[in-house]
Amino acid sequence: MTYWAVNAVFLAIVAVVGLLALITARVRGRAARASSSAAAVTRRRHERLLGVGIAVGVLLVMTAVFDNVMIGIGLVGYDAARISGVFVGIAPLEDFAYAVAALVLLPSVWVLLGGPKAPRAPQAPRVTTATKEARS
């Protein structure tokens, strides 16, 4: 099995988790989108897109730099027969699958772990005691 074949399996798992997170976020965001103005929704989308763009760019550049250093000083070696032979410097292109997977998997898990957006719980009891006191 080649490095790309292994990556394909893991990237497929990541893609499924990513898709689940996208659907979840979409369903959860429905109420927020309905209650806010079109300008606010557009603004949030632009913010998200630009943010993701910056993060992806920075992580890929950092991967290129540090992977080259790590291979250069001999922390890791590869079987030449199992890699495609496409390199970024001396780093096999396949190594970038880790960075791509991290960029999709981790925020997806974060989204899936979050419950539906609800008003903050701790504030509710304080309000009720205040109103009770005011009534008495």
């Binding site: 992580l59 922390l75 079987d79």
Partner: protein, 114 residues
């Protein structure tokens, strides 16, 4: 026995924690949620590593920069810290870049209105 690589990873991780604390990026947003996310990420990448090593795709280099402590065949102790750093960095980056994006867009709107 070399501690250079492990020390570099620990220093970088410390930097991640400081950035997280300063800008409330990951653990400082939600501790249990961040802990589970990080754990899922590290375990996922460790499995990926083990399979890659098992198939003979990559292997630990013979170097004096590593402690030589192995947690599995050809899997150095340092890899756990490296993967933790990769995951922490990814989440800090995504949250931090979002903050930067907000500032950039604010500035652009200010310029357009002034």
């Amino acid at each position: 026995m070399g501690f250079v690589y492990l020390a570099a990873l620990l220093v970088s991780l410390f930097g991640m924690v400081m950035l997280d604390r300063r800008f409330a990026l990951f653990f400082w947003r939600d501790v249990p949620r961040a802990a589970v996310t990080l754990l899922v990420g590290v375990v996922f990448f460790l499995i990926w590593d083990v399979i890659g090593i098992d198939l003979g795709i990559f292997f630990r280099g013979e170097t004096s920069f590593m402690t030589g402590v192995l947690i599995a065949t050809e899997l150095p102790l340092e890899e756990v810290f490296f993967l933790t750093l990769l995951c922490y960095l990814t989440m800090n980056l995504l949250a931090g870049a979002r903050l930067i994006a907000a500032v950039v867009l604010d500035r652009r709107t200010d310029e357009a209105t002034s």
